[in-house]
């Protein structure tokens, strides 16, 4: 019974996030445009972009391989898996595949690898450059990510996300404990780096020296580009959803009921849109860090995560 309920919730999460992810990007861009004194293209523009890209003929290089077609689909599926597995609307675990954080990180890494291979397959200098930088950042983010996971798992005694969220819901004191705060800051920096946001990567640049994400998708077009964009947006939305549910777990459905699901869907929508606005406002005041300063930032967030784990032993 819980199995069926979990499947329903997973389906709700999937539909909600596929709809919501482009809107989130639209909101982020629109807020940023307004703050910079531009009119902006409206919050529906990303949706219009995807629709437009799907009706174009993709153009591929003669030397490229099947990777250019398969990579974008892989990225999209990995992001969809994130949306299905993470506790976004409800915390009911799917049968046999609990939302284990280690599994979730590796699902995300599949998408990272697919994107990096697409960048390489294009056979241009830009693609390779973006791919190389992207993988370097991904490699350096990994320790922070897993240590933050470790720190979060200590109060709940498990690395299963839905249980972690439920623990935080039951004992809100956990949320503002120093361990949790340090871990959340580390996790937030790691997520910014993973999703190619400022200060690690500038999502709106096409300047050759600063591109990371954009350099990899330069050679993709038509539906390939649509999948790549949608996949990246979904990843951002899902990870922001996770972050918001860890900070403010209230509203998430812990048991299955129609009302609970509606409330869960509504609150998570509000939460990620708010986080998106915050992110956008923050980005207006941030400049992109030099590529070789990024490791310092990541080392800082790693130190926070390590501090979080060791602090948990001192506190306990």
């Amino acid at each position: 019974m819980t199995g069926a309920a979990a499947i329903v919730i997973a389906l709700v999460q999937l539909t909600l996030f596929v709809f919501l992810a482009p809107v989130l990007i639209g909101v982020i861009r629109q807020v940023r445009a307004r703050l910079e004194g531009r009119a902006g293209s409206g919050i529906w523009q990303p949706w219009r972009d995807v629709r437009k890209l799907l009706t174009k003929n993709p153009v591929r290089a003669a030397d490229s391989s099947w990777m250019l077609a398969a990579g974008p689909v892989t990225l999209l599926v990995s992001s969809l898996l994130l949306c299905a597995l993470l506790p976004l609307v409800g915390t009911l675990p799917l049968p046999l595949i609990p939302s284990d954080l280690f599994v979730i990180v590796s699902v995300m890494l599949i998408g990272v690898v697919a994107l990096a291979l697409v960048g390489l397959d294009a056979g241009t200098a830009f693609g390779g450059m973006g791919s190389s930088r992207h993988m370097t950042v991904a490699a350096l983010v990994e320790p922070t990510l897993l240590l933050a996971v470790y720190a979060l798992s200590i109060p709940a005694g498990t690395s299963t996300l839905s249980l972690i969220v439920e623990t935080r819901l039951a004992t809100p004191a956990v949320i503002i404990s120093p361990v949790s705060l340090l871990a959340m800051v580390a996790l937030a920096i790691a997520i910014m780096a993973e999703t190619s946001r400022l200060p690690v990567d500038n999502p709106s640049t096409h300047l050759e020296l600063t591109m990371l994400h954009e350099a990899m998708v330069l050679e993709a077009s038509g539906r390939d580009l649509a999948w790549l964009e949608l996949g990246s947006w979904l990843k951002l939305a899902a990870l922001l959803g996770l972050l918001s549910n860890l900070i403010v777990p209230w509203g998430i459905a812990t048991e299955f009921s129609a009302l609970g699901v509606i409330v869960g869907a509504g609150t998570v929508t509000v939460k990620i849109l708010l986080l998106g606005v915050l992110l956008s406002v923050g980005e207006v005041f941030l400049a992109k860090a030099r590529l070789f300063r990024v490791p310092e930032l990541l080392a800082g967030s790693f130190a926070l995560a390590l501090l979080a784990v060791t602090a948990s032993y001192l506190v306990a």
Partner: protein, 672 residues
């Protein structure tokens, strides 16, 4: 005669047959006949191992003419498991050799030593006492040395690599010998069951522990005893490298298991800390060197150091947690270490075989000169890709399952029922998680680079452009290897249960099968079912694929020679990123550890300071351990050698005076 005895005897007979085949068959047929017999020999090893693992008993006694006890071969369950792993890799390597061995690697010596090497390797886990263990160990080492020597004729660099290999393998043999001697002296016998009676808290046991750790760590290519690996493996042909790096390293792990599971299972906590440190340093150092390597085989060789480092990290965690009474997590860490060993054997042998196929097709191992092989060699590319995913620990390969298990064991290790177990564990576990995470991240980059640069994009040299797919006989082991990498990842439940049975009775991991073939580690409260996971991914993939097909029918793909060209117009293959440029950011970040030497030479046009005619960049990353640790020692030795040369100047007078002094000193000593 039991089935197990028949299997052991069968291996002995097949060895004789393989030796005969190597010596007697004419050149034209040698690879086919010898390769087939070697494959059979290794398959007999798999069968024997399976019998031992499933509980078969029996022993084969070989009398010796020496004043020693007869050699008794009788693998237990753990031995059977390791025997299956090394023999399976050996079988794949021999099968690949049928197609790939040419000229030097198809000589009599080569096939003869291949058979001896395989035989020694797959029977080491059957040894029941120190003498037979060391004898078979040496047979394995000698076989592999002769196997490498067979290539001496064609390449000059082999000689120096071989000197390193012999010196390092004898060094690790010495450590193992000394360690066992220490234990045997204490126990009063050489049987493994006798050695198990030694008290692990005596100081002799600790000395023996250090010696054995160094010895077995050396065989498993751990830092700082790994220096031979990046020299030797690139010189070996693909199938030999696969057998050495995919199978022989596991014998090092088996040795360590013998010590920490069978003989001294309840050692003090500092043993665990030391093993973890050794493993952690090896893992990080190995993957860092691999990530900046441009030669495909050097990359794979260093990655072996990384994986073995992770295996030892798991073993060390198991020893430490057991000493701290966190038994459930300790058992899970042990299972994870064995899973890592299994998965490493599968993906590393496939990767080396793939490298062998690339070497044959393109005659080039430098990634900077490869590219575009994916469309030219689809089978090799597919197998290499699957194995690379395993090496990068991506779902749902065996590498992923193993690393997941290790991480779960570590995060559950520092607490039992909410209570902190010990200070050592609460510092060691987070650090170990961080090390594994960084290793995993760098492994991801390394294998994206290896696959992406070699198999995707456009060829970077004419050799790569003209590469053709290898013959069917070489594709078969490649495909089997790739299937094993994915298959083992889909069946973690049965695997973990088999491993749990093999490490008993001292260790009793509480693992069960859940779902179709998922693993349920009760002790640490963790569940993973890759099959369900694949089904879910498939369900999500279906609508996307439908959308792709609908869109593709309405808006077909256009192929253009260079559609966007990164905004440029004269895009040549040489302008693509290479393996060296791919790793450049990493070299900068880890400048202090890697210490690259870079040489930039700019030639200007005429008198102009602004127009450049040519830029020559050369970058070499040397092995810090070799330059800082081994070079000083070697230089010292060399200085002694030069000093000793002065004593030998060829003058007859001097030699006469030497004898006179010698005679005098003897007389003085006698008279005292």
């Amino acid at each position: 005669m039991t089935a197990l005895e028949a299997g052991l005897l069968g291996q002995l007979l097949l060895l004789v047959l393989a030796v005969a085949a190597a010596l007697l068959t004419p050149t034209r047929w040698r690879s086919r006949v010898s390769g087939t017999v070697c494959t059979l020999l290794a398959t007999a090893g798999v069968v024997t191992g399976a019998i031992a693992l499933s509980g078969g008993t029996g022993s084969l006694t070989i009398p010796t003419a020496l004043p020693l006890d007869p050699l008794v071969l009788s693998p237990d369950k753990l031995g059977g498991l390791v025997m299956i792993v090394v023999s399976a890799v050996g079988a794949l390597a021999a099968l690949f050799g049928i197609g790939s061995a040419r000229v030097a690697s198809a000589s009599r010596t080569a096939w003869l030593s291949m058979a001896v090497f395989l035989f020694g390797m797959q029977l080491v886990p059957a040894a029941t006492d120190v003498v037979s263990f060391l004898l078979l160990w040496e047979i394995m080492t000698l076989g592999s040395t002769a196997l490498l020597l067979a290539h001496h004729a064609t390449r000059g660099t082999v000689a120096s690599a071989l000197v390193w290999y012999s010196a390092m393998s004898q060094l690790s043999f010495f450590f193992v010998l000394a360690g066992f001697a220490m234990l045997a002296g204490l126990a009063g016998g050489t049987g493994f069951d006798l050695l198990a009676t030694v008290d692990p808290f005596s100081w002799q046991a600790s000395v023996a522990f250090l010696l054995l750790l160094l010895g077995f760590g050396g065989k498993a290519e751990l830092v700082p005893l790994h220096v031979w690996v990046p020299r030797v493996l690139p010189e070996a042909p693909g199938h030999v490298a696969a057998a050495m790096s995919g199978a022989m390293v596991n014998i090092g792990v088996y040795g360590a298991l013998l010590v920490f599971v069978r003989m001294l299972p309840n050692g003090p906590a500092w043993w665990g800390v030391l093993i973890m440190a050794l493993g952690g340093v090896s893992a990080l150092y190995g993957i860092l060197q691999a990530s900046v390597a441009s030669n495909l085989k050097v990359l794979l060789a260093y990655s072996t150091t990384e994986n073995m480092g992770l295996v030892f990290l798991g073993l060390g965690a198991s020893v430490l947690l057991r000493a701290d009474n966190a038994t459930a997590a300790a058992d899970a860490a042990l299972v994870a270490a064995l899973l890592l060993m299994l998965s490493h054997a599968a993906f590393k042998s496939t990767l080396f075989l793939g490298a062998g196929a690339v070497a044959r097709a393109a005659g080039e191992m430098n990634l900077d000169r490869l590219g575009g092989l994916g469309s030219r060699m689809p089978w090799t590319a597919g197998a290499f890709g699957a194995a690379a995913m395993g090496a990068a620990a991506l779902p749902v390969t065996s590498g992923f399952v193993a690393e997941w298990m290790l991480l779960q064991a570590l995060i559950h290790g520092s607490r039992v029922d909410g209570e902190v177990v010990s200070v050592a564990a609460s510092v060691a576990m987070p650090l170990a998680v961080a090390v594994i995470a960084l290793t995993a991240g760098l492994a991801l980059l390394t294998f994206v680079k290896a696959y992406g640069i070699a198999f995707l994009a456009r060829p970077r040299s004419p050799q790569a452009e003209q590469a053709r797919e290898v013959p069917v006989i070489m594709r078969i082991p490649l495909v089997i290897g790739a299937l094993l990498v994915v298959g083992l990842g889909l069946l973690p439940g049965p695997l973990a249960v088999a491993i749990g049975g093999a490490v008993g009775p001292e260790f009793t991991p509480d693992v069960r099968i859940i779902g179709l073939a998922g693993v349920d580690a009760r002790g640490i409260d963790a569940v993973l079912d890759p099959t369900t996971f694949v089904v879910l991914a498939g369900l999500l993939l279906a609508p996307v694929l439908i959308a792709v097909f609908v869109s593709a029918r309405r808006h077909p793909t256009r192929i253009s020679p260079l559609p966007w060209a990164g905004g440029g117009s004269r895009l040549r293959p040489r302008m693509q990123y290479t393996a060296t440029s791919y790793a450049e950011p990493l070299v900068r970040v880890f400048d202090d550890v890697l210490r690259p030497s870079r040489d930039v030479e700019v030639t200007h046009v005429g008198e102009s300071r602004y127009l450049v005619e040519r830029v020559h960049v050369e970058q070499t990353v040397s092995d810090v351990v070799e330059t800082r640790l081994y070079r000083p020692v070697l230089n010292l030795l060399q200085r002694f050698g030069i000093l000793a040369r002065r004593a030998q100047n060829g003058s007859i007078h001097r030699y006469l005076s030497y004898s006179f002094v010698a005679l005098l000193s003897v007389l003085i000593v006698v008279s005292l």
